[in-house]
């Protein structure tokens, strides 16, 4: 039997692959090493220190940023997971004009650049507030502003599409004859759904939720557009420190976030693996 020619002879793909992996990790490695470097600017090694981590934890703004970020990510994840899962069921179960439009609406946000989604939502909020604030002032004496609420709305909107796509993928892999078998064996529709369909697609829902959570934690561009003044999230904090702060402290923060990322990816891989 003849072996594949290309893999036998070609060294090039292997080289590119490993070179890319090195390319991916060198900047991260530099950051990790510098987070323990006594020298503020990096570059030369001036001895081992934990001082940047200590400085990071003693900054009260970071705790405020972390709290806001977690509140936003939690609410956005729950809402986006519910909306996205319902959406995936509708897309999977019905095939008609309505669902074609529905699919377009869910898919399009994925291919619109962040900055356009950010500015478009800012425009909507500015116009909406200009319209309702005079009314609210007269009737209730309150005023709506950009802030945590507008950030949450924006995050739900972009997370929804990702959840819908992940859950839809899982539904397409699910063998619906199992559901019919459950009906034949005497389960009612609700039982069959709850005991057969839900457990089968649960890993997809969880993966979608986790993806939402990380996307929400991660987002800077859209958040910054709809944040207004004074709502601090972790990415806004990082951006501010990158522009005007101490780079050594961000090194330390980066290492902590990298560890969180490694753990998250590990959990997601485990969730998606049991599919096979």
């Amino acid at each position: 039997m003849k072996d594949h020619y290309l893999t036998k002879r070609s060294f090039f793909p292997k080289f590119v692959t490993w070179a890319t992996i090195v390319f991916f990790y060198i900047p991260l490695l530099v950051v990790a090493v510098n987070s323990f470097n006594r020298s503020k600017g990096g570059g030369v090694w001036k001895g081992f220190t934990f001082q940047w981590y200590r400085q990071l934890f003693s900054d009260s703004r970071i705790w405020e940023a972390l709290r806001n970020t977690l509140v936003i990510a939690s609410i956005a994840t729950v809402a986006a997971t519910v909306l996205g899962t319902l959406c995936a069921f509708a897309l999977h179960r019905y095939r008609n004009r309505l669902q074609k439009t529905h699919y377009m609406l869910v898919y399009l946000p994925l291919i619109v650049p962040d900055i356009l989604r950010g500015i478009s939502m800012l425009l909507l909020f500015v116009l909406l507030f200009a319209w309702v604030n005079p009314l609210l002032r007269q009737t209730l004496g309150i005023r709506m502003n950009l802030g945590i609420t507008t950030i949450i709305i924006a995050h739900i909107t972009f997370c929804l599409s990702y959840v819908a796509m992940v859950v839809l993928g899982r539904l397409q892999d699910f063998d619906f004859s199992l559901y019919e078998a459950a009906l034949d064996l005497g389960a009612n529709k609700f039982q069959a759904f709850l005991k057969v369909v839900v457990p089968a697609i649960m890993p997809g829902i969880l993966a979608g939720a986790l993806l939402s959570f990380t996307l929400s934690l991660d987002d800077y561009v859209i958040t910054f557009f709809v944040a207004g003044k004074g709502s601090l999230t972790l990415p806004i904090y990082i951006y501010g420190s990158m522009k005007h702060g101490n780079p050594a402290v961000i090194n330390a923060l980066s290492v902590i976030l990298l560890i969180v990322t490694f753990l998250t990816v590990y959990v997601v891989q485990k969730l998606l693996e049991d599919k096979k």
Binding site: K2, H4, Y5, L6, R9, P13, V16, T17, T20, F23, F24, Y25, P27, L28, V30, V31, G42, G43, V44, G84, L86, C87, A90, R93, Y94, H102, L105, V106, L108, V112, P113, D114, I115, L116, I119, S120, M121, L122, L123, L124, V126, L127, A130, A154, I156, T157, L160, D218, V221, P235, I238, Y239, M242, P247, I250, S254, L257, T261, T264, V265
Partner: protein, 296 residues
Amino acid sequence: MKNSTGKKLNELCLTAPSMIWLILWFVIPTVLVFLMAFKPVDPWGGIGSGWTLQTLRDLSNPNYPEIVVRTLLLGVGSTAISILIALPLGYYLARVSKKLRDLLLLLIIIPFWTNFLIRIFAWKVLLHAEGPLAHFLTFIGLLKPDATLLYNPWAVLAVMVYSYLPFAILPVYASAEKFDFSLIDAAQDLGATRLQAFFRVFLPGISRGIWTAVIVVLIPALGAYLIPDLVGGTASELIGDKIAQRTFIDRNLPHASALSALLMFVVMIPIFFVVFFTGSRKSITGTRHSRGVKQK
């Protein structure tokens, strides 16, 4: 009859929540971008009343053509480089043992999940005037002391490729994994050289993955704002930077809208092109593939 209304009601209950949400917070805002480009600005940074063409006329700013061209060049450049790297990589991933492949995929996915700002920041540290790369290049005499590698279009290109490459690798790999590699053997048995087999059998076979990769890299690259903002400096501003500046510094929302509408067009053109192109391509590869299977 009753059953079918029940079914309709079921469908509506499943469809309405996400559909209404998306119309409210995605469709309406997107339409607003185009409408606001025809509004005047008011002196308090809000949107004035009435309609005007002045905002569109302001787009004839002499700096803009250069910025649009730079956005296109960097977008196309970073996409081309990402695809060129993703092709051999996807090929290699599809051919190695499952164990090694899972490890490599994990190593590729991790940067993909890492905070975007942190990834850009890592490059800032790396390219900084006092950073390791500058030290090394000064040491071997390639760089003048105290010169920075940051704040030029090449830094933007490097960081764009770094950030978007995982987006390109995953769809190319997904297609390569489904590709029937015995077709390459067949081509070589029939007298094709290795490169011919790669270009005329493998590439058409995974064209769908390649076009997906083009879209998922090109779009964020054209809309890039953070990367040029953080590592680019004033000489490498892109459309995205201008939109942010008009919004936050000048408080001129109509102007920012007009620029956004422009960017929307710039982004939509390649998408329509690619969708059209892949649509016609798919049938070709489809027939090629089935023919290959039959011959086997």
